[in-house]
């Protein structure tokens, strides 16, 4: 069959991204032709700022060179501006007469810089700032001339001014409004910004209206060149170079001329289709629901949707974007998002430390963040922005909202909280040893835009994740508003599907699905058998939703859960037998000692969880070790109940008011063999001195004279988080009932690999209280469902000493 013809006009960021997305899903559908008015292949326009500033070269910012087009069989017409679209004839005609026919047309012509209609605008030396040509012209001028005037104190103008200054020019920024970046910043933040830019040597003239650009007299053959800028108030300053950065206009000329409906941009619907069904538009030239965007992040969302429809997959709608802003001036930390103008019905929280140079202002309406400005400390910009976009209720966390998510300053990066002030050689990711400079370099040279990209390419933040906030900051300050934190609410499970964890769980429940292939088929997984990330999640969802019905799939479990021991860096395993409540006896200890001798186990260590770890066991020895130990599996390898840490309690301790050891043993006997979305740790202390550290466990119980206090959703690992008070109960039975209900709710609702702390942060403690405390029937039902799920569950070690999964432990020989 003959392929359909797809023609694209405009070889910029949005258009090429659309092609990339489409080639990923449907590589052979079209014969593709691309027209680009610029003489360059596809480059990263937002990095023109560091190019102007001398921090990068044009070569560094190429996203796809001409080879890429060749490899994908795309006909590329560079330096050819399309002059006309012939809709009846279904062809486009370039200025030089080149003609191409289309079955589908994609318009991605971006926007044009707005030029003030004032005398002198056409003089030599008057430029805009949009493409490589402009940038080179400015760099060249900076080498020859001295006085630069930038008209426009917005994002683009300031980045231009900063670049020209770094190139050695005397720079004055003219702005008509009372303060800089008035669309993104409030006055306070703007003044702080102005001060720090002044410290870099920039000059500002605010509330100045430019009236005229004055040129040198033209003389035979030599064109008149800019000499000065004159203002409405009559004053004048010298200028050898004028850069106009006063806004952009969607470039819809071609579409308009072809009779396609435009209204400050080419009007498109939610599938990025214009009024002519054969013609699509993406990028800054498109007007979607009345908005033409001027930042990269929304354009990428559009590209994804448009690609889907061009590929005739017919799914996905673009429903608009909330954008945020980040100025890309090295050393300046600034973040703004949403509406920050305030009003009668909005409240604001402000933190202002003028000496320390920090200003934070959040606007809250109906318990939701609607806008925010951060200056100086932007660590939490992504976090706020995410809550803003997801309209998350912040009532509960309001009192500490201002202090941030503090996912920084925990462990592994020296407590650093500001990426901007970090030197390039400082370590950001303590797990993988990645420095700031490496991350910045990768972002720039590989054209990375998302956290996932950075994780893949540099490994930073891909292990324990505690440096995520820092990496996000570095990303944001390198690519500016082009970085949008991954939406948490509607984040797909993985690259194999567009469905979220929640959707998948729901479908499994509602359609009574019992096996992984059924889920993948029913939910149209893109890959034949998933990946190492979705398969373990699906396996857990099936088992937890349909206990005793769904069958476990060992091949969809991480090796630790398949071998029932922890793999070590040398490929050996560790064995941690269970000691209920941390209590052991001479016979167990003797057997452990004998096993260590018999199997020549190199290391024996007391763990942080009150039990003993045998490290360096050969895989083939595992069943033998387990048989000789004759102790239950400690599940130290599993997303399951780990330990219930206890203190000695009232049995021995002079302060103890409750028998915490027995309570811990009872809890451990109730919950052991229980798989969960992530590991679950508990502790019971016999009095408020809390020697078992109940305050940092998933479930922490503290004995008091009149009963037991129950705390939930604490965490002592990567991100230390204090457990929250759930309730106080009188009896040990109630402790079991209430904690079971909490844990079962977590098992049924959390995403795979959420610890309780992450899950509760998302659903809110109020919700948990409502389900576990207020709804008595519901609590009992949850408790019963957990008991049902655990009924008859076997000890995996015992089963394997009897020969189950034998092949897992035996090597073949040739």
């Amino acid at each position: 069959m003959k392929k359909m013809k797809l023609v694209m006009i405009g070889n910029g960021m949005a258009g090429v991204r659309t092609l990339e997305e489409m080639l990923k899903i449907s590589p052979d559908l079209y014969d593709i032709t691309v027209f680009g008015a610029e003489p360059h292949a596809n480059y990263n326009r937002i990095l023109l700022s560091p190019v102007l500033a001398g921090e990068m070269t044009i070569k560094d910012i190429m996203l796809n060179d001409v080879d890429w087009y060749e490899q994908n069989n795309i006909r590329l017409h560079l330096n050819k501006k399309v002059a006309r679209i012939d809709r009846p004839g279904r062809k486009v005609i370039a200025e030089d007469g080149t003609t191409e026919e289309y079955d589908r047309l994609l318009i991605a012509t971006g926007s044009n810089p707005f030029i003030l209609p004032i005398p002198g605008k056409d003089l030599d030396g008057v430029l805009t700032y949009r493409d490589i040509g402009d940038t080179n012209a400015m760099i060249e001028a900076a080498g020859t001339y001295r006085h630069a005037v930038v008209i426009g104190g917005g994002l683009l103008g300031l980045e231009a001014a900063n670049g020209l200054k770094l190139r050695g020019m005397d720079v004055t920024v003219i702005h008509i409004m009372p303060w800089l970046m008035e669309r993104q910043l409030d006055e306070t933040a703007s003044r702080m910004l102005q001060k720090s830019l002044e410290a870099k040597g920039l000059r500002f003239l605010l509330q100045k209206q430019t009236a005229e650009i004055v040129g040198t007299p033209a003389s035979d053959g030599v064109k008149s060149r800019v000499k000065s800028v004159r203002f409405a108030d009559g004053s004048e300053i010298p200028a050898d170079l004028v850069c106009m950065a006063v806004g952009i206009r969607p470039n819809d000329d071609l579409a308009k001329a072809a009779g396609i409906h435009c209204n400050r941009g080419i009007v498109v619907n939610d599938t990025m289709q214009t009024f002519d069904p054969r013609i699509y538009a993406v990028g800054e030239c498109a007007s979607h629901r009345g908005i033409a965007y001027g930042l990269v992040a929304p354009l990428f969302d559009m590209a994804k949707v448009c690609a889907n429809h061009l590929a005739q997959m017919g799914i996905g709608r673009y429903q608009g974007s909330v954008t945020s802003t980040k100025l890309k001036v090295t050393g300046v930390d600034l973040f703004s998002a949403g509406d920050f103008s305030g009003g009668n019905d909005t409240e604001e929280i402000v933190l202002h430390d003028s000496v320390g140079g920090v200003y934070k202002r959040l606007l809250i309406k109906d318990d939701r963040i609607v806008g925010g400005v951060l200056y100086g400390d932007t660590v939490d910009g992504s976090w706020y922005f995410q809550m803003l976009r997801e309209k998350q209720n912040v009532a509960e966390i309001r009192d500490h909202l201002m202090f941030g998510q503090s996912h920084l300053g925990n462990s592994g990066h020296q407590g650093q909280s500001s990426a901007a002030s970090m030197p390039d050689d400082m370590e950001v990711c303590g797990c993988n040893g990645v420095c700031k400079g490496t991350i910045v370099k990768a972002i720039k040279e590989q054209g990375l835009f998302s956290l996932d990209d950075v994780r893949k390419h540099t490994k930073a933040s891909s292990s324990c994740g505690s440096c995520t906030g820092l990496v996000e900051q570095i990303l944001a300050s390198t690519v500016g508003g082009a970085y949008t934190p991954q939406a948490n609410l509607n984040k797909p499970m993985c690259g194999c599907t567009d469905h979220t964890h929640e959707e998948t769980r729901k479908v499994i429940r509602e359609h009574h699905l019992l096996a992984i292939p059924d889920v993948m088929h029913f939910m149209e997984w893109r890959t034949p058998n998933g990946c190492a990330s979705c398969r373990p999640a699906l396996n857990y969802y099936l088992l937890s939703t349909w206990p005793h019905e769904a069958k476990d799939d060992p091949q969809s479990r991480f090796i630790n859960e398949r071998a029932h021991a922890n793999i070590q860096k040398d490929g050996t395993f560790s064995v941690i037998p269970r000691m209920f409540g941390g209590v052991t006896n001479a016979s167990e200890l003797r057997r452990i000692a004998d096993v260590v001798d018999k199997y020549q186990i190199p290391t024996v260590k007391v763990t942080g969880g009150q039990r003993i770890d045998l490290l360096g066991v050969k895989k083939a020895d595992l069943p033998g070790v387990w048989a000789d130990l004759a102790m239950p599996s400690g599940h130290a390898y599993a997303k399951a109940l780990r330990t219930v840490k206890t203190c000695v309690g009232s049995e021995w301790c002079r302060f103890g008011v409750q028998d915490s050891t027995q309570m811990g043993i009872d809890m451990e006997k109730t919950f052991w063999k229980m798989y969960a979305p992530h590991k679950v740790k508990m502790a019971v202390s016999g009095c408020p001195r809390n020697c078992a550290e109940s305050g940092i466990k998933d479930v922490g119980v503290i004995g008091v004279d009149s009963g037991w206090e129950i705390y939930v959703a604490g965490n002592g690992g990567i991100k230390t988080e204090v457990a929250q008070f759930l309730c106080k109960v009188k009896t040990a039975d109630e402790v079991i009932e209430y904690t079971s209900a909490f844990i079962q709710l977590y098992r049924e609702q959390a995403r795979y690999l959420d610890r309780t702390v992450h899950w509760v942060a998302r659903v809110g403690l109020d919700y948990v209280k409502q389900r576990v405390l207020e709804d008595t029937e519901g609590r009992k039902a949850l408790h019963a469902r957990l008991q049902f799920a655990l009924q008859g569950e076997k000890d995996p070690w015992v089963e394997r000493t009897r020969g189950m999964e034998k092949h897992e432990f035996e090597a073949l020989t040739v």
């Binding site: 091949q555 398949r562 793999i567 092949h807 073949l812 040739v814």
Partner: protein
């Protein structure tokens, strides 16, 4: 039953030495979407079976830090190393970009339900 297609042989054997086919085990001894370790004179070899019953063999050492690939999760024609999750192509032993590295491959063949390995 006729011989199934042979995965392209590669020379990890030094030039001059001849390669021989050796019997490993019945296909059914290797779990679908799983692997077995084969102890050989060439060191440990990981023999994988995917969902389509194709069989692949790689040196059981991840190009990253030597992780035992036989212990990883298999999907499509890829295995995820159990130590730090590098993805290694089963057919070519190459790490999936952006990671870089390669581990040795061995040719495999299935005949009458028996898996053979070329050493």
């Amino acid at each position: 039953m006729s011989a199934l297609p042979v995965n392209s042989p590669v020379s990890i054997t030094p030039a001059g030495q001849s390669r021989t086919w050796v019997r490993v085990a019945p296909l059914s001894d290797i779990p679908k979407l799983g692997a077995r370790v084969v102890n050989s004179a060439h060191g440990d070899i990981a023999v994988f079976r995917n969902a389509e019953d194709e069989v692949f063999a790689l040196r059981d050492q991840c190009p990253h830090k030597g992780g035992p690939l036989s212990q990883g999760i298999v999907f499509g024609k890829t295995v995820a190393c159990p130590l730090h999750n590098w993805q290694i192509g089963l057919a070519d032993g190459e790490a999936v970009a952006p990671d870089k590295g390669c581990t040795g491959r061995f040719a495999t063949r299935i005949e009458d339900g028996i898996v053979y390995l070329q050493l």
